[in-house]
Structure formats: C-alpha cells, structure tokens
C-alpha cells in the first residue's frame, strides 16, 4: 500500500539521515533529469543504505535515477517518471588497493581524478580517460561504458572491470565477477552491468584492473589538408609495426587550425618512445605530412573541442571512420551547424559537438536519419548524447536497435526490474 509523501520522506530520512535527504523544491530543481524533477534526492552513506533505499523504492513503486557526478544525466531519453535520485557521492572510498596485484576495489562515487591521484602515488593508473571526464564518477563511467583515447591500447570499462557490486531493483546487494585478474567462475555479470545505464541495478562499487604508468610518453600532432591524405596516413600507421598508445583524429573545427589533425601518443620506455616517434615522423613525411611534438597536456584539452549544447556519438566500422567523419560534416553544414569531431581510430567512435541553431525535426530529418540509415548495414549507430530537453522531445536519442536483439534486452529488463523503477524509459528502446 502506498504511503503518503511526508511519510516516505520520513522513511528515507530514517535510512540516510535527515541531512542527506533533499526535499526542498528549489534544491530539487537542480537534480531534474531532462526537465523531470524528482521528489527527493537521497545521499546514502554506504552500500547497506543504498540497499534499504532501493528496497523502500521497490515497495513503494518509486522511480529511481542513480547519480554519480551527474555527467550521465544528459544521456538517454527523458525519464518516463522520476521520484527519487540516489546520489552516490558519499560512496567514494577506495576500499581495497593492492598495488602488487595491480587491482583496486573502489566505491561508485569516487571520481576518476581522485582515484588516479591515489594510484599515481604507486606508479599505476586506471586506463579510462573519457574526454573531459576526470571529474566523473567510477559508477557513472561504468554505467555508460565511457572511454577515451586510451581505449586504443587498453580497451574500455568492459575490459577493465573485473567485478561489480550492485544493488538490484528490490534492494538485494549482489556481487558479480571476481577480485582477481583472471576468472571464469559463473557468468560474466560485470559485462551485463557495464554500459547498462543503471537500468538493471545500481552499481555501488567495482574491482578494476590497473596498469603501470608508462615510463615515458611522447605525443605528436600531424596536420593533413584532406580527408583522403589523413586516411592514407592512418591506414599506414595502423598497418605498421608502430605500437601507439592513443590515436585520435580531430577535424578542422575541433583542431581549430584549419586542418585535419591526427594526435598520436607513444608510451613505452624512453628509447622506444624516441625511436617510434622518429619512425612516426618518417611515416608521415612519406605521406606528405608534417609532424610536430606536443606536450602531454594536449590530451587533457580534447574536452574543450566538444563543448556545445548538442553532442553526438557515432559508432562505425573502424575502417570507415574517415568516411563517416565526412558524412557527418557534410550533413551538419547543410543545417548550417558547425561540427567539431574528435574520433578514436581503431575503435570507430566519433564524438561530435554541434554549434548553431537547429530544430529537433530538422536535426532528425537532415542529419540523424540519413546517418542512421547509412550506418545500419554495417551495424553502426548514432546516439544523441546530449541535447536540450525541448530538442530531445522531438528525437529518438538512441536510434533503432535490431528487434531480435531488443527482444532479449527487454526480457533482461523485465527479469531484473519487473516493475520498471530503475531509470524507467531512459535506455535503448525505452527500457
């Protein structure tokens, strides 16, 4: 039986403490998701409290949105309903770190930057660098499988997450995976949770594979006057015996110097960085390009290129990266929009920020649909990662999913969240 709103606030306050429950209208507005304002924000102080909050939400049928740093709140469809934001900021401890194993267990609310500082003291790192995302929380990065240039060498959260602790929709705390670097005991539950945007459970902690910080790193920027020239060099680079750490492409709008730019880093021992850097320079010269050495800080500035009210993420076959870059630019210019693109070679991911005025209908009809139709045969996708709520209302932010695949995903959602209280409506196919 449903309890009255004041009684629910009391019950939540009993769990997390009055000072960790937000229920004033003004404060709640700041936690709106795509214009949908929650009735409460609860900040549990531990896994057990998250479990009790979820159990209460389950009993009362409250719709829940988990929150880390807030970076993912722009991602996804507007929520079908939203009662309670579960803010995991207080769960920010590194609960177990054994440098000798290169494994760390971290609570979901810890930020990438804070964890990175702790690991750097021991010469290690978590190789996840979503662009502009150092303040993002571990839980949020896992929920959206966010990754950046380092994915070229180290993969994504899918590859680096060894275990997850999560709270199911009914409040049951659950563990999947292992705390060791190699395990095939039971199903790979972390794979299911990573990238699920909190729709199957609320991730409260994770055990992560770490890597040693490279002994030396060098970064180089090469400028190309045409897409064809850049494409030729990129193919030669990836086909060579060079072993880059990051290979990132910036279009003219993103590089801001009138050229197409390829930013490459080599991370290894000093001698190898030197010789590979020289080989890279020679390879570029052979393709008529000029290479300049860059400070390592250039990687931290990629986020500046991707500011803008509308952000897109296009995924394609890796070999078609530059083709789709061209298509994206062509259709954006047709709408009078400026498109800044940062693309990850090898993984076929283009992130794009659009600048300029556009209606939802025009964006959909002129850009999203043609690109999605073109990407469909190769299994590619185009996701609107960020857009004003009014624009979102006129768009399909995720794009189509094959009906057979969506059928399996829907069964998963029904099995693990039968009442649809976890981020209802926000995920692919309205799950």
């Amino acid at each position: 039986m449903a309890v009255s709103s004041p009684a629910l606030a009391e019950a939540l306050a009993d769990i997390v403490g009055r000072e960790h429950l937000v229920d004033e209208a003004a404060a709640l507005d700041a936690h709106a998701v795509d214009g949908v304002t929650p009735r409460w924000v609860a900040r549990p102080g531990g896994v057990e409290e998250v479990g009790r909050v979820l159990a209460l939400a389950h009993t009362e049928g409250l719709a829940v949105a988990p929150r880390g740093s807030g970076a993912n709140l722009a991602l996804g469809n507007p929520p079908r309903r939203l009662d309670l934001v579960v803010d995991l900021a207080r769960l920010n401890a590194v609960t177990d770190y054994v440098p000798e194993d290169m494994v760390a267990t971290v609570e979901a609310g810890a930020s990438l930057a804070a964890l990175g500082r702790r690991l750097a003291e021991r010469g290690q790192m978590l190789a996840l660098d979503p662009i502009g995302g150092s303040t993002r929380s571990i839980g949020g990065v896992l929920a959206s499988n966010a990754a950046g240039p380092l994915r070229f060498r180290y993969g994504t959260a899918r590859d680096l997450t060894l275990g997850v602790r999560f709270v199911q929709a009914d409040g049951t705390t659950t563990w999947g995976g292992a705390k060791v670097v190699k395990s095939v005991t039971g199903y790979d539950v972390p794979k299911l949770l990573v990238g699920s945007l909190g729709t199957l459970g609320v991730v409260v902690g994770a055990t992560l594979r770490l890597h040693p910080l490279p002994l030396a790193t060098g970064s180089w920027l090469s400028a190309w006057s045409s897409r064809a020239a850049a494409e030729g060099f990129l193919a030669a680079l990836l086909g060579s015996s060079l072993e880059p750490e990051r290979v990132t492409l910036l279009n003219r709008e993103a590089s801001r110097d009138g050229e197409l730019a390829l930013l490459v880093s080599i991370a290894s021992v000093e001698e190898a960085v030197g010789s590979q850097g020289a080989a890279l320079t020679r390879l570029a010269a052979g393709h008529g390009g000029h290479v300049q050495e860059m400070p390592a800080s250039c990687w931290g500035r990629l986020g500046e290129a991707l500011r803008g009210a509308v952000a897109l993420r296009l995924s394609c076959e890796p070999k078609r990266l530059i083709f789709w870059l061209g298509e994206l630019e062509r259709l954006a210019s047709r709408l009078g929009l400026r498109a800044a693109v940062v693309a990850q070679a090898g993984s076929g991911v283009l992130q794009c920020a659009l600048q300029g005025e556009v209606s939802g209908a025009a964006l959909d009809g002129t850009l999203l649909r043609p690109l999605r139709d073109g990407l469909a045969p190769e299994g590619g996708s185009l996701v609107v990662e960020r857009a004003p709520a009014a624009l979102k209302a006129e768009l399909d932010v995720w794009g189509p999913t094959h009906p057979d695949v969506l059928a399996i995903m829907s069964r998963l959602k029904r099995e693990f969240d039968p009442d649809g209280i976890l981020n209802p409506g926000r995920f692919v196919g309205g799950l």
Binding site: V180, K182, T185
Partner: protein, 480 residues
C-alpha cells in the same frame, strides 16, 4: 528416451551424414577431456549452417529435450558431455573462416574452426588471434568463446572475451540472432560479453567475429631456473609488483621439468627446482629494456641460470615443452587430478607454500605447471588408484586447495570453466543472491532449461539425480 520421430525430424534437418546415432558412434562423444564425467547423448547432429542449428534447437524446445553444444571436446570440466542424454550439436563441420577483414582487424569464423588455423591464415598478413589456450592446435574458436578460454599470453592480451567483437548465436529460446559485430561499440546491453563464457547454457555460437592483433615487432623468450619453487614464485610476484607485464610468465616445477625433459626434451635445465618461462613482446627497445629489468629481479631471487632463446626454433621448443606438459604426466604418475584456480598474484609465494603443506599433510605429491603471471594455478595432484585410500586423500587435497585459494581472495576457476566439475564449487565463491542473479540471467536466454543442463550453476533443476561431480581426472594428452 527420445521419440523415434524426433530422430527422423533431426535427420531431415542435418541429413544422414550429419547424424551419429549408433551406440558406438555416440560413445565417442560421451566425455570431453575430463573423462571422469561420462554421458552419451541420444544422438549427435553435425549441422552445416546456423539455420540448421536453429531448427534443431526449435525441435528440442518443442520436445523439451536437452541440447549439448560441442566443439573439439578438449574441455576439462565435463562441459561437452550429455549427463541427461538429449541432442549433442557438434560444430565440427562448421569450421571455415568466412571472412578476413584486415582493414577492420577482424575475422568472421565458424564455431568449429580450430583456434590455431586462424593465426596460421593471418600470420602471412602480419596478424594473429591472441587467445592461445594450450589446446590451440585442436580446440575450436566456438569452444574458446563458450568457455571464455585463456592461455599463457592472456597475461598481456586478455582472455577470449576481450577478443570477441560479435557472435551469431541460437539462444535457448530458439532465436537466431547476431549480438555485436564489427562495430566495436553499440548502444544497449553487452549481450556479446554476457554470452562469452556461458558454456553453452545460454545458447550455441554459430559464428564469431574476433579481433586480430598485429604480430609484434619483436619477441624475446627467457628461461630462468631456480633451485626452489619458493624462489621462482617470489620472482613472479616481484616482476608484477615492479609494474612489468610480460606477454607470458609461466612457472614449471621440478616434477614437470623432469617429465618434460624425459618426454619432449624441450631444453629445460634438468635438476632445477623450478623454471620460469618469460616471454616479452613489442617494440624492440621496449622488449630489451624489460629484459634488462627482469634479469636482475631473477638474480636477486637466486636464479641459477637465465637463458635467452637464440632463435625461433629454440623458442618454439621451449613453448612446446610448456604447452604439451600435461600430456607427459602419464609417464610419471598412474593417476592425477587437475585443478584450475586463481589467487591474487601477490599471494603466489604464500599459496605455493600452503600447497606443499597440504600435500605433505595428506601424503601426496602436487605438481605444478601454470600461468604464474596472473596467479592462475594448475596444481596436479598425483596419486595411485591401486593404493588403498589414496583416491580419497587426493579428493581431500583437491578440496583443501580450492578453499585455500578462496581464502586468499581468489577464484575457483581461471580459464577452464565450471561445467559439471565445479558447479557445486560456485557456492564457495558466491552468495545465494549472486547465484540467484545468474540463474535468472540463464532463464532469460533459456526459458525452458534445455541448454546444457547440469552445467555452470549449482543445483540446476534439470540436473539428474545421482550425478555427483568429483575432482578432475584428466587423461594423458590433455592440455592445461
């Protein structure tokens, strides 16, 4: 017992040549390399297309008959045998490379393709398939996907799941569907990642798109010998703790050094208490620099000899010794159990000492050849079936070992998988809520419980009475 009509319907799908139904024929399929577990299927079908697989699963759903997938049958967990009978779907006729797409650095292959064939087909172009279970000259890529197979080089390159981009599958619900694909990232749940390692309990793999890696610029293989096991395992922990991730880091103990030298003659130093096989790969300068850091670590831990393979032939021989190690045990012991467990790699010296203590307590010898760099142990418990009480003691050693690994924060299986062998052991590692979550995950893909029943999870409803898993008894010629 299956209805006679079902045999006729199956034959209509796969053809007469795609059926094995004679008692002698079916016996060939009654076990994988874990021969302790036996269960012949009522019939074996050998489909040639994914569509045929889907039709077979559709029939089995209708009749509520178990479906047991099988690749090359080299598994070590009793995964590819039929404890409840039913239809075994053997993928041996679906063994082709469908497409090499070097520009996208991937290959599309059928599930029965032998692992090594893919690297052989791509090496001339400068690429290879990284997962390298010791069985790679025989095991199939479909089987590798189903068990999420490992191998020596996963230390640097990750296990099978890290190399699978997409799978075409037939789920237990009868759907023929592509999960994932050449595009590495797509919105929605990572169904590919969930399916890999499902051991055929979620459905069957009918095609896979796998990553190909560039052959590294240089490779260096070192052999370091030690007088004691303790020195060798301390060295392993020290190398990892120094932040060096070799391509492979294998430990071979005194027993195996002797057995391999007598059986294969791989050039391991006779009389050594333990040997480390260390492989480094990558840019030449990086490999040299890593070697220059590793050698003093070995010396600091009292290495007797450090040798570098001088050419490809010597390197291949060193690896032959390692990969075929399990095959030579038969020369040295009448019976043996194989274990596959994991400890955090910093605890390696501790577990190796504990292991010797466990063996001594029960009066049995435990031999070791394993993936030391990632803490993945393969203790082999030697016993004699004819000696009264030794079998029971060997089982106790096996149990004690597993518990000791878990007490250190480890895992009950690192790469071989669960199958029937370790289904009950999952309760040692997971809480009821965790297992319940997995059971529900299984139901989503296999609502009727027909897919490989009795495997991967404890007390599956379909698990037959009187079917009690026991420790691992592996025949000569297996790979670990």
């Amino acid at each position: 017992m299956m209805k006679p009509e079902l045999f006729r319907e199956l034959e209509a799908i796969v053809g007469e040549r795609g059926m094995v139904s004679s008692p002698e024929g079916r016996l060939t399929y009654e076990a994988d390399m874990h021969t302790f577990y036996k269960g012949a299927p009522d019939v074996v079908v050998l489909p040639e297309t994914a569509r045929q697989v889907a039709l077979v699963v559709g029939l089995c759903r209708r009749e509520h008959v178990p479906v047991v997938p099988r690749g090359s049958g080299t598994g070590l967990i009793g995964g590819a045998m039929a404890p409840l009978g039913g239809v075994m779907v053997a993928m041996n006729r679906m063994n082709r490379i469908l497409e090499l797409d070097l520009a996208n650095r991937c290959a599309t292959v059928q599930p029965g393709l032998i692992n090594l064939w893919l690297s052989q087909a791509t090496r001339e172009h400068g690429y290879y398939f990284a997962p390298d279970p010791s069985s790679q000259m025989v095991s199939s890529i479909g089987g590798n996907c189903s068990t999420n197979a490992g191998g020596p080089h996963c230390l640097k390159y990750g296990i099978t799941v890290n190399h699978v981009l997409g799978l075409q599958v037939v789920t237990g619900a009868g759907e023929l569907v592509w999960l994932g694909g050449k595009v590495p990232e797509r919105p929605g749940y990572d169904l590919t990642g969930v399916f890999v390692g499902g051991e055929g309990t979620l459905g069957l793999v009918t095609a896979a798109i796998v990553r190909l890696l560039h052959v590294p610029e240089s490779v260096k293989t070192l052999l370091a010998s030690f007088s004691t096991l303790d020195d060798a395992s301390e060295t392993v922990s020290a190398i990892i703790a120094a932040g060096i991730i070799p391509a492979a880091l294998e430990l071979i103990d005194e027993f195996f050094v002797r057995a391999i030298e007598e059986g294969i003659g791989a050039g391991y130093p006779k009389g050594a208490g333990a040997v480390l096989l260390i492989e480094l790969d990558g840019p030449r300068e990086e490999v040299e620099a890593q070697a220059a850091r590793i050698v003093p670590i070995c010396r600091d831990h009292a290495a007797l000899e450090i040798r570098v393979a001088q050419d490809e032939a010597e390197r291949a021989l060193l690896w032959k010794g390692r990969k075929e190690a399990a095959g030579v045990v038969g020369r040295m012991a009448s019976n043996w159990f194989l274990q596959d467990a994991v400890v955090p790699r910093s605890r390696l010296p501790e577990i190796m000492r504990e292991m010797q203590a466990i063996g001594a307590r029960h009066g049995l010898r435990i031999a070791n050849v394993f993936h030391a760099g990632d803490g993945n142990l393969h203790p082999i418990i030697l016993y004699d079936d004819r000696a009264p009480g030794e079998l029971e003691r060997a089982k106790e050693v096996n149990e004690d070992l597993l518990r000791a690994c878990l007490a250190l924060g480890g895992s009950v299986t690192g790469e071989h998988g669960v199958g029937v062998d370790k289904a009950q052991s999952l309760t040692l590692q997971f809480a009821p809520a965790d297992l319940n979550f997995m059971a529900r995950l299984r139901r989503v893909f296999d609502p009727d419980g027909i897919m490989n029943p009795g495997k991967l999870l404890p007390s599956h409803p379909a698990c037959g009475e009187g079917f009690r898993p026991g420790p691992s008894r592996i025949p000569a010629g297996a790979w670990v």
